[in-house]
Amino acid sequence: MLHIINKSPLDRNSLDTVLTTAVGDGAILLIEDGVYAATKGNAYEPKLKAAMAKFKVYALQADLEARGIADRVTDGVTTVDYAGFVDLVANNKTNQSWL
């Protein structure tokens, strides 16, 4: 299952909720303000790194670039373009946008 997060983890708890609710082996895609979770030095970085043991983490490249943070993506996070976003949705039987 794919979990789509569009909120900064320092503003809202959607990523926290995913990490405590979702069954492992899933994928997390960070889009819009969600991409801030995938930046080096962010207070959320240790939590995201711990989550990588359970989830494959992706971030949308266009949203990273728009926010000037494409050069500080946390190691282990895979960046995708919109085509990659489509593939993630297609390759997971279900998805949930954590609005």
């Binding site: 299952m1 708890n13 959607s14 909720t17 405590t20 609710t21 979702a22 069954v23 279900t94 998805n95 949930q96 946008s97 954590w98 609005l99």
Partner: protein
């Protein structure tokens, strides 16, 4: 492909502050009319939707607490509420306006994996 799918409506927002709680109810009733297998999940501030005793006269907005009670007439009997979210808000199942199934986050995560369609509000 079967025409009956498992729909789960995921509610994470408090009522009245935004319209999402009301719209979620509208959609679940329509989905039930389409004879789909429907459930609702309440977690985070979404559990506040079920807090009993809404008095909306003062804000001049139509209250919709009663609609939760009518859900079982539409065969929507599966209302899952996250235990952790209730506890974090000082609530128990007795504070809620309808009977629900209180589940752990792990159980809720598993239930989500079993769905065909997840709609979030």
């Amino acid at each position: 492909m079967s025409d009956i799918k498992k729909f789960m409506f995921v509610n994470r927002k408090a009522p009245y502050g935004t319209i999402y709680a009301l719209e979620s109810l509208e959609v679940v009733l329509i989905a039930a009319a389409f004879d789909q297998n429907c459930s609702m999940a309440f977690l985070d501030d979404g559990v506040y939707q079920l807090k009993k005793g809404h008095q909306t006269k003062g804000i001049e907005v139509k209250g919709f607490e009663k609609t939760y009670g009518a859900l079982e007439d539409y065969d929507i009997e599966k209302l899952y509420v996250d235990q952790e979210s209730l506890a974090a808000r000082g609530l128990t199942a007795e504070d809620l306006c309808v009977p629900v199934e209180v589940v752990s986050r792990a159980e809720l995560g598993k239930l989500m994996e079993e769905q065909d369609v997840l709609l979030s509000f």
